[in-house]
Every structure is written in structure tokens, then in C-alpha cells.
């Protein structure tokens, strides 16, 4: 894809893999030694390394969050969110055990409430991270409401089964637009008007491939099962099918899905502007597949210990593909008044791991 004016690639990642792996291993050792309390400071160290490796227009990005902030946020969420929620879950389960229908009702409220809180927590975590991200001494930030974002997420998740998945491209983009429209640098906002018009073709292909594959596999299973009923031998027929089926899953499902994801990222970046400059992302299906398979294997074989490396690969990838058409008027961007939350990421750190960044 050729852009109209020459687009520049102002983002670069300079971080080395060795340094990141070393940090990950030291973090593992310290986490074990401190009954995992180190993890807040460890995560902060990883972020410092991730952020500070990025330069934009030759000036480095900084991460100014601290482990203490994450720790305090965790403690607050433990008392305010987690313990009351745990009490409610225990009560609901006791009611279910005793056969009281109120228990089922309570649980059916608690599950969506938990998902809601996780979505709201993820949005708040993003606000914390952006407010601790500096470039040329100017802070990033996030406006918008965590509850509003959580409600929108819930709406998408509710519509997903009702539409047999077809709401996904629109819903995903709707949420991405909300995040980007509320992302600030200094006193200026990003603006995202990305649409999904060009995405539904790719999504349809991916959807049909996945449905066809799932249908085929279930048919094969039924067939094998019926055969084994007659002959009484299940193992020999089914064993060679499993690797074939896994390989089939990678080819038939991953390829079209990666094709869709690549389209999604291009559309999202292409619809995003900041102070007169338009972004673009040269994401291709193959690079995306390489990135995700590599990341999956690293996480799997290191049992999650090397997740910082995964994060580094994602940062490098993003820096490599992001291009900017035009240069924002930096002199017009002033420091924002909002210094962000005092403590970090409470809800997410209790209710969900969320990863390294």
C-alpha cells in the first residue's frame, strides 16, 4: 500500500532481548523469595525497559509509574472490590448448595458483574499507564468513563451470541474508537473515525472457515464414534487424526483469522489522527502470524515467565509497522492538567493477570 504523501516511521524500539530476559528471570527469583509481593515492582521494571526502549522522532518515551503505586492499588482493590465480591460469591454458592433459587439468581448477577468490573478495571489500568507515560516531559492521559466503557463492552459481549458472532468487527472497532478517542497526549486528544466497512468481507471468510472446520471436525468425531461402536476399537482410528486436526486448525482457522486481524489493525490505525497527522500500520497477515505463534510458544514453554519478552516483541512489532503521515504541531501541545490516578490498576491486578503492560 503506497501512501499519498511520504509517510515517516518515527517510532523505533532499541531494547535488547537479552536485557529483557534477564529482567524476567530476576523478577521470577525475587517473586519466589518474597511470596510474590515483588511482582508489582517487577512489572514496573519491565515497563520501564519496554517504554524507555521506544523513541519517537528521536526522543525517548519514559515510564514514570512505581511499584508502590501498583501495590497500593492492589491493596485498595482487595478490600473494596475483592473481599465484598468473595463474600457475595460464597453466600450465593451456599444458597445454591441449599437449593434456594435466590442463589442461582445471585450468581447470574455476579458473573456479569465480575466481567463488568474487569472491563472497567482494564480501562482504569489504561488510564494509569497513559498518565505514567511521558514524552518530551509531556504526560499522556485518558478521559472517558470506565463504567461507560464497561457497559459498552458488556453490550458487545451480549450481542455476540445473539448475532452468531457477526457483531464482533463492529463491536471491536466501536470499543477501539472509544479508547482512542479518549487517549490524550498533553492537552490534545487522539481522534479515531475508523469504520468497519472493508472488514466484513475478511470477517465473513474467517467466520465461514471456522464454522466449516468446526462442523467438519464434529462430523468426523460422530463418524469415528459410530465406527467404534460397531468395531469396539476407538484408539487406533482416532490417534492419527489428532495431529492432522491440529494442523488443520492452524491452517484453516488461523490464516483467515490473521487476515482479518491484519485488516482490523490497518483500519484502526488508518482511522486515527493526532493534531493533523494520520497514522497507518503496515500490518501483513504473515508478520502477524509469525508474531502470535512466536509469542504463543514463548509463553507456553516458559510457563508465562518470559511474558516480558512477549511484550517486547509486541512493542517492536508496533514500532516497526506504525507510520505517520505528517508531523503533529508539537509546539501547540501543552502539558495536561490531569496527573492521573494516585494508585495503579487495582481492580485488574486482583481480578485478572492482564499481562505485562
Amino acid at each position: 500500500m503506497q501512501s499519498r504523501i511520504q509517510a515517516s516511521r518515527p517510532f523505533r524500539h532499541h531494547g535488547g532481548t537479552g536485557a529483557m530476559i534477564a529482567v524476567a528471570l530476576v523478577n521470577l527469583a525475587l517473586s519466589i523469595a518474597t511470596l510474590s509481593i515483588w511482582r508489582f515492582w517487577g512489572r514496573t521494571k519491565v515497563r520501564r525497559l519496554l517504554w524507555s526502549g521506544v523513541t519517537a522522532w528521536d526522543d525517548p518515551v519514559e515510564y514514570t509509574g512505581t511499584g508502590g503505586e501498583l501495590f497500593k492499588g492492589f491493596l485498595v482493590a482487595l478490600v473494596v472490590i475483592y473481599l465484598p465480591l468473595l463474600g457475595l460469591y460464597t453466600w450465593a454458592q451456599a444458597l445454591v448448595v441449599s437449593g434456594d433459587p435466590l442463589g442461582t439468581i445471585l450468581l447470574s448477577v455476579l458473573y456479569p458483574l465480575t466481567v463488568f468490573l474487569i472491563a472497567a478495571g482494564a480501562y482504569r489500568a489504561r488510564r494509569y499507564q497513559l498518565s505514567r507515560t511521558l514524552w518530551r516531559g509531556i504526560r499522556g492521559g485518558q478521559t472517558g468513563s470506565a463504567w461507560g466503557y464497561a457497559l459498552r463492552s458488556m453490550a458487545v459481549w451480549l450481542l455476540l451470541p445473539l448475532t452468531l458472532g457477526w457483531v464482533w468487527p463492529w463491536g471491536e472497532m466501536w470499543l477501539a474508537r472509544y479508547r482512542l478517542d479518549n487517549t490524550c497526549f498533553g492537552d490534545r486528544r487522539f481522534c479515531c473515525d475508523a469504520g468497519v466497512a472493508g472488514l466484513y468481507g475478511r470477517f465473513a471468510v474467517a467466520w465461514l472457515c471456522i464454522m466449516a472446520y468446526v462442523g467438519l471436525v464434529s462430523l468426523l468425531f460422530v463418524q469415528t464414534f459410530l465406527d467404534s461402536m460397531q468395531t469396539g476399537e476407538l484408539d487406533e482410528a482416532a490417534a492419527p487424526m489428532i495431529p492432522v486436526m491440529l494442523l488443520g486448525a492452524v491452517i484453516v482457522m488461523t490464516l483467515p483469522w490473521a487476515w482479518y486481524r491484519a485488516g482490523f489493525y490497518r483500519a484502526m490505525a488508518g482511522g486515527t489522527t493526532f493534531e493533523g497527522a494520520r497514522f497507518s500500520a503496515q500490518v501483513t497477515t504473515w508478520t502477524l502470524i509469525r508474531l502470535s505463534i512466536g509469542n504463543g510458544l514463548i509463553s507456553l514453554f516458559s510457563l508465562g515467565v518470559l511474558r516480558p519478552w512477549v511484550a517486547l516483541r509486541i512493542f517492536r512489532f508496533a514500532c516497526g509497522v506504525l507510520a505517520v503521515d505528517g508531523v503533529p504541531d508539537f509546539a501547540g501541545i501543552r502539558q495536561g492538567w490531569d496527573k492521573g490516578p494516585k494508585t495503579g490498576e487495582g481492580m485488574v491486578s486482583v481480578l485478572d493477570g492482564v499481562g505485562e503492560f
Binding site: R12, H14, G15, T34, L35, S36, I37, W38, R39, W41, S52, G53, V54, T55, W57, D58, D59, P60, G67, G68, F71, F74, L78, Y82, L83, L85, L86, Y89, T90, Q93, A94, L95, V97, S98, G99, D100, T114, W135, R136, G137, I138, F185, G186, F330, A331, G332, I333, R334, Q335, S349, V350, L351, D352, G353
Partner: protein, 350 residues
Amino acid sequence: MLSDDRSGRFNDGKSAASRKVRLWSLADGVEIRGEDGFLIAVWKTADLVDDGELPGGKGLRMRCKAEPDARLTVEAAVFVRPVAKRGTFHWRIPAAMALGVAVLVGLYLALPNLARQIALVVPLETERGWGNQIAAGFERQMRACRTPEGNEALTRLVERLAAGLPPERRAVNLRVLDNAAVNAIALPGAEIIVFRGLLDQAGDPDELAGVLAHELTHVGERHPAANLIRGIGVGVLATMITGDASGMVASGAATVMAAAYTRDDEAAADRGALRLLKQAGIGSAGFATFFRRLEVLEGGKGLLPAWLSTHPETASRAAAIDAAADPRKLPPSLRDAEWRAVKSICGKAV
């Protein structure tokens, strides 16, 4: 301090503009001037903070404590004297860490006692509510065994033994459930569940009386409620350590109930059982016999009977019971007809 005048880039921390500057070293700091020579800022040496190298190694970064948002990038600077390093060692982090570990370990060690104290302030009605709910849950999964004669005999035995408990704990509700587990459990409030397997294994009424006396002591000392609270506490601690609540939320009252009693609780229940048996005028020999019988079962089948797996250290406990045994010869705790009614309460022949 800078050895010479140098060029660099300056961000004032008020806007995102980047300005080319010239730097002049002074006796006690750095003078930052625009390319037109106009003075922008003077940074004192004492306030200078080294921000490390620019990624890619094309310059050094500096900050000033007096202007925390401003940034200076010096192109290929040579320092005569190094400025203060940013990464100075903070004692507060290891201190916070040590405090956190101490709190976690302390909470874990204090948990049994803490749970016991909390259980003591839980109102009896609330505790009964928990017990009823859990017992009702068991009854929905297993058939409850009831015969008029069997229940009457069991009720009379329980009432005789419970006479030694605090008054508000005497109204014990005993259920027999049709399950092969050789087990009896005390629930919060005053609920005791006996499984059919235990009745099958008991050789005479005194053996059953011993087990009931043991469980009644758990009831009298509020061990089940303390256990429940302790189980929840372990889950909370696990969440604090792993930072992952999903497992805890999924597990519930059922797994919490599976937590074994503490060793202290078991010893207390054995002592209390002897006291209750003595007050009821029932011999304790059957209690010891039952322990030995379970031990044989355990050896023979290679399976730990359920009551043992929640009540470990059988041999030493049987010996302790023997040592404290009442030497008097006492009549059996149930008459033959009563005992037969109890044994066949689930409809099985004696």
C-alpha cells in the same frame, strides 16, 4: 559538569516542542541558551539528574530537580564530574517487601486462632443457617435414611452425650445419609451427618457413641464454623499471593468445607469425647476399638477411610484413648433392639 559548550535539545515541560540549544558550563551548573543566545534556563549542578543514555547511544539525557517536567538531551557530552545518578538505592522497597512478607506469613500463622476468635462472635442463628444449608446440599445428593425406631435410638444416644455440652449447643440435629463413606462430619451450627458406611463398620453401639462424642465436641467447641472461616481465609491469602482471584471465586463453600481440622482441634475433640462418654456413663473402649478397626481397614484395602483421612494419626490417638479409659465395666450404650434399628436405618439387613 560539562567541559565545554555543547549543543543539545531542550523540552521545557510545558509544551511538546523540541528546541535546539547551546549549553554553557558555569562554576556551579549549566546554562541553557537558545541558538539565538537567549537564556532559557540555568540548572544547578546539585539539581542535575542523570537520565541515562539516549537509546541508540546518540546522546545523554538530563533532568533538573527544580523543573521536574523539563528534559535536556546533550549531544555527545563529555562530563568532567558525573552528576547524580537516577537509580539510587531505595531502602523503602525492600522494607515494604519485608513488611509484606511478614504480614502474609503472620496472617497464615495466625489464621487458625483468628478463625476461632471470629467463630466465637458469629451469632448462633447465623451458624445454624450455614449448617442447614450445607446439610440440605448433602441431602439433595444422597438419600436421607429414616426409620422411626432407628431415629429414636440415635436421638436418645445423641441427647445423652450432648448433655455435657454448653446448653445452647445441646439441640443437635443428626442425619444419616445413604453413602458408603466411612465418615461422620460436624457442620456449623449443631448439625451432624453420619454416613451409612460408618454404621456398617461400627461393631457395637459404643464404637458409634465414641465417634458421635468426638463430633459433638467439634460442635460444642464451634470447630466447623472456625474451619469454614479458616478455609475462606486461606483462599484470600492465596489470592494475595498469586494475584489471581479467578480460582478462588470459582471454588466455593464445598471446597472450603473439605479443609481438615487442625491437629489441636482433633486432640481437643478426642479429650472432649472421653469427657462426654464419661458423663453419659458410656465406656470409652469402643472408641479406641473403632480407631483400630479403621486402621485395619486402611491396611487391608489400601484405601484411607474418609473419617481417617480427615482425622489422621490413628494409632497414637487410640493409645491416648486407652490410657485415659474408664476402668469400670459399663452397660452398652444402646440395647440390642435399638442397635439393630440403627444398623438397618438405611434399609440394609443387619
